[in-house]
């Protein structure tokens, strides 16, 4: 009896879910579904006469270890795991460039904020948006990956050049110059080709499986 009152099922489930959420293999939707499953499993065990705590422990046990679950979900969420890493890398490079520009130039506020904060937020939002269920309905995984890759490359070019060049954005922006930069910039071109090849490779892989 004491156990039953001191054990908080919602609390225990939140902790269990928090542990799983540490892995990038699960999307929020997956965790929601696993929790609903755990609750079903728990209540059917409790109907057999177990206490809430016993039922919870057995239900968790039956679900399998977090690592094994993560490995199985990673097979289906592979591209989202990859995109997750890409997001972290992008965030990392933004931070490094921001710190670097902060130390080297006092024009930081003008060039940085105007130049890439807005397109940056837009690019990150688009990459995240590509993972949404709406995007999943209309675009196949390789296509979403290719778009995300193109966005990331475009963003990284904008980021790098705008940090060094005030002609890109801001009050003195020179648009024909910007177009030339985007069209003839060799790093952008290389990334464009690379992303195209990766997308093609992913597409063929997904066809095969």
């Amino acid at each position: 009896m004491e156990n039953e009152t001191s054990f908080d099922l919602n609390c225990a489930i939140q902790r269990w879910r928090g542990e799983l959420a540490k892995s990038a293999s699960f999307r929020a939707d997956d965790l929601e579904e696993l929790e609903s499953h755990l609750r079903d499993s728990e209540s059917s065990l409790r109907a057999q006469g177990l206490t809430a705590e016993e039922a919870f422990l057995i239900a968790v046990r039956r679900t399998g270890s977090g690592d094994a679950l993560a490995a199985e979900f990673a097979t289906i969420n592979g591209s989202s795991v990859w995109l997750d890493r890409l997001l972290w890398m992008t965030t990392g490079s933004i931070t490094v460039s921001a710190l670097w520009s902060l130390t080297t130039t006092l024009l930081f506020v003008r060039t940085t904020v105007f130049a890439w904060l807005a397109p940056g937020i837009l690019a990150v939002a688009l990459i995240v948006g590509l993972q949404s269920n709406v995007a999943r309905k209309f675009l196949r995984a390789p296509l979403r990956l290719a778009i995300a890759f193109l966005l990331a490359s475009l963003f990284s070019v904008l980021l790098r050049t705008s940090l060094m060049d005030q002609r890109m954005f801001g009050p003195s922006a020179d648009f024909p110059y910007m177009q030339r930069l985007l069209l003839f910039n060799w790093t952008f071109f290389l990334q464009f080709v690379a992303s195209g090849m990766i997308a093609l490779f992913m597409f063929r892989q997904s066809r095969r499986s």
């Binding site: 939707d29 997956d30 929601e32 579904e33 696993l34 609903s36 499953h37 609750r39 079903d40 499993s41 209540s43 679900t63 399998g64 094994a68 679950l69 490995a71 199985e72 979900f73 097979t75 289906i76 969420n77 999943r136 196949r140 995984a141």
Partner: protein, 113 residues
């Protein structure tokens, strides 16, 4: 118990067959198949959900989050789509072909098994 290979091959037709009789959610699917198979087919969550999500991506089935009418619990319900019914038909033909061939072979030589 089924071998790993047979589980991998039979999950999609089994899911499609259960869903062709009406919508269902993960937990219920596992229970349903366990009962129907007399405990011989024991699916795990880690195996089933990725397969369901893959099937949804391939447009064989569709899903919807909804609260259950009796308990009010939020669940993700899966429903078969037209493409799924088509896939089920072709699966049916293939499984029946394997099944009838094996049955014919085993009927003529029952002692060799």
């Amino acid at each position: 118990m089924l071998s790993k290979e047979l589980v991998a091959a039979s999950t999609v037709p089994l899911v499609l067959s259960v869903l062709s009789k009406g919508e269902s959610y993960g937990y219920e699917l596992i229970q349903n198949v366990r009962e129907l198979s007399g405990g011989k087919i024991e699916w795990t969550e880690g195996m089933l959900y990725p397969v369901l999500h893959w099937m949804e991506r391939e447009n064989l089935i569709e899903s919807e989050w909804r609260s259950a009418e009796d308990s009010g619990r939020r669940r993700r319900y899966y429903r078969i789509r037209k493409e799924g019914r088509k896939a089920l038909q072709s699966e049916q033909q293939q499984w029946i072909a394997v099944h009838t061939t094996l049955m014919k072979l085993w009927k003529t030589k029952p002692h060799s098994i």
